[in-house]
Amino acid sequence: MQGVGPAICLGNDIDTDIIIAGRYLRTKDRSVWAEHAFEDLDPTLAGRLGGAVIVAGRNMGCGSSREQAVVALREAGVVGVVAPSFARIFFRNAVNVGLPVIEAPVSCTDGAHVAFDLDAGWVEVDGERHPARPLSEKMVAILRAGGLVPYWRSCR
């Protein structure tokens, strides 16, 4: 599983409330979450997520278990999320909705060229390659299927 895109850099401890606020959770319309992603952090950010790779700081996705956070990013067209460490529920949710998550200690400048290859286990920022922490076999299989729902269907 590979991806490329310009970097959008975020800080440490980005919580799921800031990814999608509690006031937008009560709907099944996924486009609402994409539209309002990061609204309280930077109202212009949602419009720039399409085709980008988020490069976050430590403890990415901490807080609430709300799956709307990872769905918002996927629906907005985020190619993948790179961070030196993730909150575990966010990480598992991302895999379950087919959003690539890459655990690697990279530093970032906005717009840097980011490429990753999860099978080979690396991420590159402006050509500088860093090893990514490998996923478990089960997580790789789920991600490769496009998420837990398609994985489930393929196993039945």
């Binding site: 409330d17 309280d40 403890n59 909150a87």
Partner: protein, 403 residues
């Protein structure tokens, strides 16, 4: 020789296991997404509906037509699938699960990050997302990576001004917001044995604020006694010599009233340092501090006096509310000028019933003070119930003394 997580999950730290789940629940928010995932998975019959629960707590009663319609659909699904429903007014999922459902040694998953609360019973309890929960509902099992464990060794006894919430803030401050990511916390030591079940639930509840997967107490005589009141038989769990990744020491007798200041739960000050901070609202409740002991402590402080700032009290469950009515605790709270809202999460996640306006400041007994969580531009301080009570009376942050 195993940690409690290793013992319950049946494998050493670091191993991946597929494990049958004893209880899997979701609430009105995450339940909607779990239902959608089941639909997309093409799952029609659930193999073990008796192990599942739907608990309406996040926005109860519904605040908008959209919310009401989503809840009505989920209510219908509970009926048709055989999942037991705790409808609006029953209480917060973790509290409802703590009232005679979860027992020592169980594997419990919930579609809510604070599912770690239930580790207070010596169960392995952890939060997950809605799609993961749907897969558990469809199959009865899920995968886990068995966590390494950090011991939180509690010694000594709390002074009368401090309470379990202050201990929770103390360990969160010590570990930091990602100090225990992927790990389990095990609360042990003589100090743990001296805590009530309500107090243990408060400590376990905040484990996820350090990134932990679980926050576990060994079941002991107090656990067995508590569960017996609900007609459940349980046995104590004996700790074994085992390998902890590290041990954090907390002497309960050193704990003073603490406050987490905006906008990080691990930025903790002595209440004394922030005394006098202006408040627009005090909020007492949530899965951290909405239990009977909490309401009783609050009532003891405000009884016969009047709060000086708008104060909202939300019992964690109908059982808590009923008991508070029977003992006069609720009347004391209402007479002191507080508002009482139906059992549930209240304004904790900023979706309804007590959200903050721009620039408003709230002292809350909840577990999260992320920027904008309770309303855009609002500031959240987190404290114990006693600190919230004396602050409600003062209209500014105040320090409880010997209450």
């Amino acid at each position: 020789m195993s940690t409690l997580s290793e013992r319950i999950l049946g494998a050493p730290a670091g191993a991946y296991v597929d494990r049958e789940v004893d209880i899997a629940f979701a609430h009105d928010g995450t339940g909607v997404l779990a239902r959608e995932a089941l639909r997309e998975m093409g799952v029609e019959r659930l193999p073990h509906p008796e192990r599942l629960r739907l608990i309406f707590d996040h926005i109860v009663p519904a605040n908008t037509g959209t919310t009401a319609t989503l809840q009505a659909e989920l209510r219908g699904y509970a009926r048709s699938s055989g999942i037991a429903l705790s409808d609006a007014g029953g209480g917060i999922c973790h509290q409802v699960m703590s009232e005679g459902v979860v027992r020592p040694g169980m594997v419990v998953v919930g579609a809510d990050s604070h599912t770690c609360t239930l580790g207070a019973f010596g169960a392995f309890a952890t939060g997950m997302g809605a799609t993961d929960t749907a897969a558990v509902w469809a199959s009865g099992a899920t995968w886990f990576r068995v966590p390494e464990t950090i011991a939180v060794n509690l010694s000594g006894r709390l002074s009368c001004a401090a309470e379990p919430k202050d201990v929770a803030l103390a360990y969160v401050a010590k570990l930091g917001m990602e100090g225990a990511t992927y790990r389990a916390l095990e609360f042990a030591g003589d100090g743990a044995a001296g805590l009530s079940m309500d107090g243990r639930l408060t400590l376990s509840n905040m484990a996820v604020e350090t990134g932990a997967k679980a926050g576990i107490f060994y079941a002991d005589a107090a656990t067995v006694r508590y569960l017996a009141e609900y007609g459940l038989a349980a046995s104590p769990q004996m700790p074994e010599d085992c390998r902890y990744e590290r041990t954090v020491e907390i002497d309960l007798s050193d704990i003073v009233p603490l406050v987490a200041v905006p906008h990080r739960v691990d930025t903790v000050r002595e209440a004394e340092e922030v005394a006098g901070t202006h408040l627009d609202q005090v909020f007492v409740g949530t899965c951290t501090n909405g239990r009977y002991e909490d309401l009783a402590r609050f009532a003891r402080i405000v009884r016969g006096r009047k709060v000086a700032v708008r104060t909202l009290v939300v019992p964690a469950s109908r059982t808590v509310l009923t008991r508070a009515i029977a003992t006069g605790v609720l009347a004391d709270i209402v007479d002191a000028g507080c508002m009482v809202a139906p059992p549930g999460c209240g304004p904790c996640l900023g979706a309804h019933a007590g959200v903050l306006g721009e620039g408003e400041v709230c002292l809350s007994t909840a577990n999260r003070n992320f920027r904008n969580r309770m309303g855009v531009g609002g500031e959240i301080y987190l404290s114990s119930v006693a600190t919230a009570a004396v602050s409600a009376l003062a209209g500014v942050i105040a320090v409880p003394e010997g209450v």
